[in-house]
Symmetry: C2
Subunit: 249 residues, 2 copies
């Protein structure tokens, strides 16, 4: 009998640029038990890091003007999406699927207007979400003395299936993948390729613990202490499949 | 502050063809609280339904012989995969990605040799996992008098990202998707297209509650009673994106 519990954290204030998220989280949570996984929605990480762009400051390129025209989008917003992209993978039916500079494949390169404080502001993904997770983890350790893991999560669509799931775009202090390939099942036979995206599974669960319109961007996961490591580990970068190994790009 | 708890169920016996899963689950769990989500790994549903094939009974077609040769697989196993597929989407590097008759896109059409009782046996996906979920739910209701939701889960790979996640291939008594599109965020602005694959998020969490080599194919999820419905609902079929709407097939 194993299990986990997933609890959203209430009482976090609105996050502005330059704020110390670890301090806000500890302030709202009080004590956090050793081995807790602290999952933080990307938006507040980006806001704290100032990863935002004002549309008024953007001059669209000819490419952004053409793409915005074809896809029915503000060309300035399209320019921001292009700036965040290594390449555009699909642009159809008003959807622009990009490969970000991190290697994530997602709509609009993860650029988001919702939950921005000013209505002409776009929120970008953190420049290096694994580094963001490592810094927040170090700050949490300094404040609490506890060994915690940190996930940074965002909602991504999927190929083939309707609906979005939260995934981990950054992590520290946890093994992002649990590799059972080559291990045997309960009958002693080798398991089918089984390579669990542990941190994506945790991220998916965090979304269930909060309402999308609530101000609960932080979720605490307990019961998975076995997955929490002393070192920061490889980060969510390990979940990015190289384009050369991807059958669907 | 919201949350959920995810607990794997111990004490289930090995499941054979024709067995009543609801009875086995209630026997192992004792009482189950109203509004609990009962997530069941596909393998025991398939075993109970007799959705298995003996390799010795399979005669590979010319296509299966050729594909098996190219991909280094037993042509009889390839024949079983082809029989379960509406079409083969990719066949490269020893991986055969199929669209199943249900519309699922996954490796080997979900056909699996691991956790089979006999080593020459392949386990297929249930013929209609939503119907399987509805039947198990009705049996659970008859045994317990409780309004429960049932998920049937399996581990699928993803495009673009390493590692697998459990998803819901069947469900009953729960809304499979939570549609926030058009609703406004906490600042009154319209949310980015937000259409949560609720049952996939729950399925992803169940995998974290058990060890892959354990005999704990059933996981009980509480705290999400708000998602449990009186009617069976549309099932996991609602998560299957039509090929005509899919940019990646």
């Amino acid at each position: 009998m194993g299990g986990l519990s997933v609890l959203s954290l209430s009482g976090l204030p609105e996050v502005g640029q330059g704020e110390n998220l670890a301090q806000l989280i500890v302030g709202a949570a009080g004590t956090i038990a050793d081995g807790t996984i602290v999952a933080i929605a990307q938006k507040i990480v980006s806001k704290a890091e100032g990863a935002v762009v004002r549309l008024a400051d953007v001059t669209p390129s000819a490419r952004a003007l053409a793409l915005g025209e074809r896809q029915g989008k503000d060309p300035r917003a399209v320019q921001v999406v292009l700036d965040q992209s290594a390449r555009v993978i699909r642009a159809e039916r008003g959807v622009i699927i990009c490969e970000t500079h991190h290697g994530f494949v997602c709509a609009n390169a993860g650029v988001d207007a919702s939950n921005a404080v000013e209505s002409d502001t776009l929120i970008l993904l953190p420049r290096d979400p694994d580094e963001s997770a490592r810094q927040i983890r170090a700050n949490l350790r300094a404040l609490t003395g506890k060994n915690l893991a940190v996930l940074i999560t965002d909602s991504f669509g999927r190929a083939w299936r309707n609906g979005q799931l939260d995934i981990a775009i950054g992590c520290a202090g946890i093994a992002p993948l649990d590799d059972w390939r080559g291990r045997v099942d309960s009958f002693g036979r080798e398991l089918r390729a089984t390579w669990l995206a542990t941190v994506d599974g945790i991220a998916a669960a965090t979304e269930l613990a909060r309402a999308k319109d609530s101000r609960e961007p932080v979720v605490l996961v307990s019961g998975l202490e076995r997955l929490v490591t002393s070192e920061d580990g490889p980060g969510a970068r390990a979940l990015v499949r190289a384009a050369s190994e991807d059958l669907f790009r």
